[in-house]
Symmetry: D2
Subunit: 495 residues, 4 copies
Amino acid sequence: MSEESLYRARVSRGLCPKALDFVSSLRDDERILVDDILGTLAHVLGLKEAGVLTERECRKICRVLGGLLKQARSGELRLEGPYEDVHEFLENEVIKRVGIEIGGKIHSGRSRNDQVALAIRLRVRKELLKTCDLLLKTSEEFLHRAEGCVELPIPFYTHTQQAQIGSLGHYFLSKFDDLLEDYDRLVDCFKRVNLSPLGACAVAGTGLPIKREMAVKLLGFSGLVENSLSAVSSRGFMLEVASCLNILMSDLSRIAEDLILWSSNEFGFVTPSDEYASTSSVMPQKVNPCTLELMRARAAEVQGLCMGLFSILKGLVTGYNRDLQETKPILWKIFDLTQDSLAVLKGVISTLKINEERCLSVSRGSYALALDLAEGLVLEYGVPFRLAHRVIGQAVRKCAEEGRKLTELSVQELEEISEKAGQKLKLRPDFIKKYAEPLASLRFRKTRGSPNPAEARRMLLKRRGELKKRRRSLDEVQNKIDKSISELLRKAGVR
Amino acid sequence: MSEESLYRARVSRGLCPKALDFVSSLRDDERILVDDILGTLAHVLGLKEAGVLTERECRKICRVLGGLLKQARSGELRLEGPYEDVHEFLENEVIKRVGIEIGGKIHSGRSRNDQVALAIRLRVRKELLKTCDLLLKTSEEFLHRAEGCVELPIPFYTHTQQAQIGSLGHYFLSKFDDLLEDYDRLVDCFKRVNLSPLGACAVAGTGLPIKREMAVKLLGFSGLVENSLSAVSSRGFMLEVASCLNILMSDLSRIAEDLILWSSNEFGFVTPSDEYASTSSVMPQKVNPCTLELMRARAAEVQGLCMGLFSILKGLVTGYNRDLQETKPILWKIFDLTQDSLAVLKGVISTLKINEERCLSVSRGSYALALDLAEGLVLEYGVPFRLAHRVIGQAVRKCAEEGRKLTELSVQELEEISEKAGQKLKLRPDFIKKYAEPLASLRFRKTRGSPNPAEARRMLLKRRGELKKRRRSLDEVQNKIDKSISELLRKAGVR
Amino acid sequence: MSEESLYRARVSRGLCPKALDFVSSLRDDERILVDDILGTLAHVLGLKEAGVLTERECRKICRVLGGLLKQARSGELRLEGPYEDVHEFLENEVIKRVGIEIGGKIHSGRSRNDQVALAIRLRVRKELLKTCDLLLKTSEEFLHRAEGCVELPIPFYTHTQQAQIGSLGHYFLSKFDDLLEDYDRLVDCFKRVNLSPLGACAVAGTGLPIKREMAVKLLGFSGLVENSLSAVSSRGFMLEVASCLNILMSDLSRIAEDLILWSSNEFGFVTPSDEYASTSSVMPQKVNPCTLELMRARAAEVQGLCMGLFSILKGLVTGYNRDLQETKPILWKIFDLTQDSLAVLKGVISTLKINEERCLSVSRGSYALALDLAEGLVLEYGVPFRLAHRVIGQAVRKCAEEGRKLTELSVQELEEISEKAGQKLKLRPDFIKKYAEPLASLRFRKTRGSPNPAEARRMLLKRRGELKKRRRSLDEVQNKIDKSISELLRKAGVR
Amino acid sequence: MSEESLYRARVSRGLCPKALDFVSSLRDDERILVDDILGTLAHVLGLKEAGVLTERECRKICRVLGGLLKQARSGELRLEGPYEDVHEFLENEVIKRVGIEIGGKIHSGRSRNDQVALAIRLRVRKELLKTCDLLLKTSEEFLHRAEGCVELPIPFYTHTQQAQIGSLGHYFLSKFDDLLEDYDRLVDCFKRVNLSPLGACAVAGTGLPIKREMAVKLLGFSGLVENSLSAVSSRGFMLEVASCLNILMSDLSRIAEDLILWSSNEFGFVTPSDEYASTSSVMPQKVNPCTLELMRARAAEVQGLCMGLFSILKGLVTGYNRDLQETKPILWKIFDLTQDSLAVLKGVISTLKINEERCLSVSRGSYALALDLAEGLVLEYGVPFRLAHRVIGQAVRKCAEEGRKLTELSVQELEEISEKAGQKLKLRPDFIKKYAEPLASLRFRKTRGSPNPAEARRMLLKRRGELKKRRRSLDEVQNKIDKSISELLRKAGVR
């Protein structure tokens, strides 16, 4: 019997090459090779427990699998041959080495349907933990940079128009908070990933007395996907992971957009370091923020990939369908794009050149002080805010028409404008001057979460703690899993 | 001063009608009218606390807002006029009634940016709780229907081909599990929604001494979106809600697909009740599962809407941008489509006609018993699974060619096939007969989570408890919020 | 017999209210009401021709339909009642007025499946022509504005970095070209829209001897969707329309982004007129480009809607499915968003304030002259471009470090840099000065399609002609259709 | 000077490895390697014409490029090294071989921005023509299969319910028509692809006197993308190509869905041949339509990729941005998925087993004859259709309740039902029998485009001609391009 016909007793001929190439996931399966071997080891130990394999048979198979695992980890094992997927490949490898009398038992009580679901979950778990780790590291960089510039004013924008004076440090803190929210989302999602589908067999369980809880323990899962139909057919957890990464990338794309804009000749607040910038083949003067542009584009790509996943699953009949095969490479691609973006962003942020002079001079000339002035009228002179808004609005208009800064306005002029607006006022001579320095504007802010430097420092300190807490939890989860896998390998007599 | 110029001191002319129509969100804002009034009440109480409003001013404003709230709740309040949004409308209403000297203070320390973020979060919270409630009710219906048919065999499918015998009850249980996972996802997401952005002002806080924690308490939030920039600019929580509903709808679409297929003349396992089916204008014999088809289509629509949300946010510069306005109606639409689908699905499931005879006869004639037979060879005769698979595969092939059922095969024939495949066997005379009845096939299954009726009943019981637990938590969350709002209204002297 | 049971002989009970509400498209069908009446008139004339209706019966029905048409056009006709759609509503209206003996014949040889396909195509045709008209008008505005500023230099950007000096006129011309490409795409698409599906009946034609060509002529179509199955089941034309509008909106969103950026305080090249800008409720100094931001967001929305359409159709079994109902409101929404955006963009462009001083001063200070200088070295001194690039690159670097403009560099300095780079040169004393004025830089360009003002003027002239040609064709198409419809109404004795 | 610093005179350090890996498109650029060399050859000939290169310099460079072309075509040329893209790689290869004095001139009057736009258009053109060729071949297969079964009845479905009797031949014809529409769309789109952007340089033309029309001719384009800004910045043509392929894949996914359903045990109309079916690793009886399932999934994937493209371009500022780099691999992937699907579908269709017996027996038992019967009442007895519909509806209901076929109803029974419905009739004794044979039902259809076998044969013949016409045009386009390229190579002295 030729190897490739292992599963094809029912049909009379093999897949034609074009069709095999079309349906084969062998290339993509490289990504779950190690996971599939680990899952198979757990299954084999379960078969021994169930009495389907003898101690000796089990040992023989484990030895082969152990060898394959070693080769897989070192990258030596090539997924090649006329197989539709890694599962067929693996079973063939085992049978080749220990014969069909023993090797032919490996697939008892298991189908490719629960097998692949298991391998996917093992791999998604690994990728998720890696992403979490990178995300914490990148977030930390934002905290680090925030530290240095809670007193560096920049305009904050609404509608891409200067709105209020903020600080670059506060900006970094804001992005840290967004990233931490993204992190917490991934952690919630992890609960629904870290479950074992093994034992669901094709779609409706098996008659062999396999204890599904055993694989849970050996592979470091926190529980079962209990219902056999859900175990092989449902992919909500993949949609959730993809969606969470999509949200994360959306946040990264907004950071990229900010920095691209701020790197322009016209804004000039920051410059990406040479290590993260490209040049032009023809325009000698250019320093192009290519890493950031690509990050922005990749967020779009992730959106599309995520959408593709959803479209695959929309209206798909329950049960295992080959359509599900396509979900794997899409999700791996999403992980790759996200992880690479995180790593590069970390580098961009840590090496970002901040043009302090420019930040200061733009802030000083900005009409973004207007709201502070209006609030000054409210606080010091009890002017109803709507009226104060109108008075300062007209003052800004006058200045804009005359090409003057707001702080160049005299107190008398402001009093006149105010009177015309129906609000007679007698202002302190230094009323406007008080806000002339952007830092004064920042210190004027009273509310929690504002860019007042004191408040920013308080937040910074608190977030250091938040970060540490998450790092500790993440390490614990990783350790628990590592221990389980070690124990599995020990039991299987591998290495 | 004309009303419409409240905010327009800076510019010399009003928006042209075409532009006003283009930018106005007034129509869409109906959805957040009540929420915006509640949020404004909390803000007004905060202004009193901060000393910006006197006790008397506060009372006057609250009285007006109370009146508007009543009208809004009864649906009398029409959002009309030359306003860009509900916020402008509300402030104008207040000023109209109490004059600009008092009413003009309502917007102190607040901008439309944090105001709308607050109203959105209040509304999303409400919709989320409503969706959770509907989801529990619909899920319950699945449990209920499962109860009646854990012993009714149907084929389970992989690749839309009959795969293993399962039970309709097990199918319902599987869908219940998927829906419960969707529920838990919504609950996780709620944590990131139920936070107050109020006090962030335009984008960088305010100089007025407002206590942000006060609104948290009055409005029943569980905390703050602390950083002012994140508070007005970040919409990760909306993306998450949309993504979760997208996943949920994806699950509904798969259920719809199953039932549409099973309602076809060819499958015939179920028939939607007349109350949930349409007829043809021209083909008198039709009973069309239109509700289910539309559910499937609406899942696609939700996918598109969700994608639209992500695309709006991709690469959007930080700060408030008018683009964000478009996120609101999209999210409301997603909620509507989901909630309606849940409610209709509940009706479809509870009234679904199950054609038991058809389920049984199809199961009896199905080759889906093949895996049970193969496992029988493994268990009783120690045949390695891969060989058993080959033997039974050839048996099925023979039967298919001769148009016979698998259970019509004689033990002798099976022995012959087996011998040719290199596996000499002496089988019990009743070996095949044992699996001839689909129920026997179900009872043969041993693993946890399988459709063995005993196992299904165990799962059913456990899930009853799971459901009750979630219902209790949900009610608690709702009650806590209701109490806060009551307290807010009491403090504001409303009703 | 109650009205609602017209189609429900086969089932015993009506749809429950919740389900009716869920499946009814009545509200959305307002959009195709007029079209459905026109289509029905054509069908009725066809039935007379086929001998199914007598002359008298035909006249009676046409009179009723004529009355409904009038009401529909004036907006008086309310689509109300317990109907699933406009088609059921119309048939009921006719039967109510002329009795079932005559009115009951109206649906002979037709089903809702070909009927709705017809109404959709009529409506899409109308919307497509309207969009084409708007698109030509908006494009014209770009030509118009280009005229005034082919000599106004602005930097052109790559990577949001100043790259080469261009002109604002050239920018407008570029956008005109993109829009004209979008226009031609819509015209190509029109060919596949303007076909009649009528006569396909439910899905497989009818036994009544109806001449399908008659409706083609009466309704001004250019041909048939011949195969009955394609006629009712295929929606490629809707996907194409949606995709074309999606591309168009993508172009609009890029224009919006440019103008938002250029309106920022930092760029300052343009300012949207007050009629197209919004103000801030709290920051008195703001002029917000809200119309443009919403245009950008709506492009995202259209992307999502388009995606939703595709997802509805993905993997949908052939034949009419109720899922298709959802494609209608989605496409109307895409049309609305696009048409509104086009109309508003026309206004924005025609009223856009151009800050010429700012454009000039930024251009003068820009390193974007570097490429011209490098090409000067190539042309005048035969320096290989790659070396010239290196020399000027180092010159820019030196200037940037010293905070000088490129044109402030002396010829001697450039010679020194050049020598260090291994290229000894003796430059004309005025070599650099030649490029100091941005206009000189523009005039230096030699290639076709460049922003050299002479070239821009040539393109402008040619495009005037292109525009006129398209306007003429569009009017012809519209006239031909109008004539057909008039003839239809005349034949039906309507008005 | 190290190679990698060719473009980096302006910055002081190279990209860090992580960033280089992130921004490099080198791997993806394999796909445009040949095209980039061809484009460069055209550019070099243009530089000679413009006097920038001497005859001798030109010859030297062409010799190098000719060698690289040969290697590229044979697959020997490896894109490796510290380059960001193929363009940098190529220029370095040339300079390495002929020195910077000559090789350094190759980039005169050209930037990577117009260069890559050119390479993309050349490649898209090639892929588009290949796709067109495959599409014609696959379409032909549908015609071919239609031929054999215009008289084989199957039920046609609406709402996945049997609706009217059709024929399998008519189904194939319908799909042929849809595919031909898809083809025509690609041809329209080709017009907007086959244009040359070369000469736009960075973004605003060049001062070197290059004739852009020369490249148009040498590379077989039909015209220019004239405006330099559009030439480097606009990607509408890519969006259009992607959208057209998206629509095509949407059609393929619907065919796949039909065939998957019809391959099910329950429908059983067709069986995919063994060469295009997979088996189960555990369920011996399965023949899984995996090729079709994957085709369906890949349509979803293409949707996502297409969406990703749109999202990249949404709101992207005008000019070249690095984001555009990501559009390339996405479009190639869309082409690959589509072309593979077309090729596999051709095989699936040509080898599809049709189960004639099953088609016939299902058709015979189907209530889908009901509409024919109702139309018989209209035609022969002048019953208004709505009443006929009601009568037959009740007849079907009666039969369904009693488990009888419609053709087993007696004329007397039908008369009774009719009388109860208020329509007294005296029917011919063989009235019902007339429709008892599905073929009679087919022959009863009168309208153009119906599945009446005579009509189907007429359509078949006509479509043969349509196909031939398109094949001829396609070959002409291909030949014209091949000739241009040959002429280019001849002029460049290559080969």
